[in-house]
Symmetry: C2
Subunit: 304 residues, 2 copies
């Protein structure tokens, strides 16, 4: 018997980097998934394979299997297959999605039901083990789906009842090192604490404002633009991201910003009227565009 | 007899836009000047001519002549010739420089000595009359030269004893409407007062910090980069300015930012080690680069 679980990628709409300093953030699951299929092996070994180039994800899969076995007090040999609908190491949350999918797939294969909050918690633990540190953002979003308001100080997330959010993601094809970028902001803050703290706090205020705008189905473009400039001021922008952002706005997006850690990775545009034109503009600048919507459903077992 | 007066252009190093809301700013005179030559005409008329394409400056020259006549209680016919070492309407302070040069040239021709602070004040009045509104920044910098710390709330300027500041200005060839850009920030502020006020205040804090760095001959690049992001967040950036800024940094500038109102106009890079490489990088992006230094001398009478 084979079990397949999947979990969505994510975009951070507001608050990246500031969330590290306790400010709230908003992240949304996107309608691109990672699929993890598991099947018992009789020899007790755990083998991981993939049809995509997502070897980066293997340490997460391996660690997720170990933690799940520990959590359930039960283990077995496994063939694990991983497939992804979005590029790994692009800042779209592939690590959390693959971790959570693995937890869900293995526990289901073993006939055990694990509560959602525990799936998220295990996914978060996997990320922490592999990376050394991780926020609860990615594991929460990929587990629960939808749009979440993250309050890092309280380690809680709150679902935002947002309408459709038509987005275009633009991928640079490059991976920014989250660790180095977070370190860069920390160094900047140590040099100029008053100025940088004030910028970080402004980013938090934007997230709070954006929550209200999303709840009434309003246009978050303007707030994204402000947030983008603040990310630039923290030094996590790149020339490419900036070009895609301007191209997206010119093509009619009402707002665009870096999403995730920056230094490469992705930008995201809010394009209620012309996702295709915005995607084309990003492509013309050399980026890889994804037209995405918010995915309401989080981690799930695939049937059939 | 002919009298020639000149006055330097300027770059705003820190604080543009925020200065409108009472935050301090730092501006420096640059080693590019506008020259105004005056000669009596017997027919009582005032005629303005120029070898450059700076007709934009004529209303300033005309108004400056009128205000100077009023101030001195004396008038005469004049041939006024204007020449410029930098492009007009580029955000480099041509309006103030031409106004102040005209005041100084005419008063000198009439054998009257006008105190520096009154030259600056008359220059400021000219700008206000022609534009409807103006800050004291440009008229002060072009009159006094050097680097000035502007405290708009008190309407005072303070000279900063800075060492050499090796700059590269990149001109887009386009003119942003200062009025519209200031209006844009006002609209943004009305929509999100808490967020935008906090950004404006951060810009002011950067100017205060930068004053200290300049006084000890330090590197202002990092603070310029932060200020640039904050200007982006206020919506006054353009795709071109952003490209030049990134190109300048890549070519070795330790910092780069929009200078002036944005929406076109100029950016400025701080390049202590490689002004030429930075200028070339800006040129490669389609910009018109000027390697400039801070000009210690303000408005003056040219002799010989």
């Amino acid at each position: 018997m084979s079990v397949t679980a999947s979990a969505p990628g994510k975009v951070i709409l507001f608050g990246e980097h500031a969330v590290v300093y306790g400010e709230p953030a908003i992240a949304g699951a996107i309608d691109r998934r990672i699929y993890v299929s598991v099947e018992r092996r009789s020899d007790g070994e755990v083998r991981i394979s993939s049809s995509d180039e997502i070897e980066d994800g293997y340490p997460y899969v391996k660690r997720a299997a170990e933690l799940t076995f520990d959590y359930l007090g039960e283990r077995c040999g496994l063939d694990i297959k991983v497939e992804s609908e979005f590029p790994p190491a692009s800042g779209l949350g592939s690590s959390a999605a693959v971790s959570v999918s693995t937890v869900l797939a293995i526990s289901t294969l073993l006939g055990r039901e694990v509560e959602r909050k525990d799936v998220a918690r295990l996914g978060h633990m996997v990320e922490k083990k592999v990376q050394g540190a991780a926020s609860i953002t990615d594991s929460s979003v990929t587990t629960f789906g939808g749009v979440l308001f993250i309050k890092p100080k309280l380690e809680v997330v709150e679902a935002i009842d947002a309408g459709n959010i038509p987005l275009v993601v633009g991928y640079t094809g490059k991976t920014g090192s989250t660790k180095e970028l977070v370190e860069g902001v920390r160094t900047l803050r140590e040099a100029d604490p008053e100025i940088v703290d004030s910028i970080i706090h402004s980013i938090g205020r934007i997230a709070v404002r954006a929550k209200g705008v999303l709840e009434r189905g309003g246009d978050i473009g303007g707030l994204m633009n402000i947030n983008h400039g603040l990310l630039e001021s923290l030094g996590v922008g790149t020339e490419e991201l900036s070009r895609y952002v301007y191209a997206a706005r010119k093509a009619g997006a009402s707002g665009a910003k870096i999403t995730g850690a920056g230094g490469g990775g992705c930008m995201v545009a809010y394009a209620p009227e012309n996702q295709r034109a915005v995607a084309k503009a990003i492509e013309d600048e050399g980026g890889l565009p994804f037209i995405v919507s918010i995915e309401k459903e989080g981690a799930r077992i695939e049937t059939g």
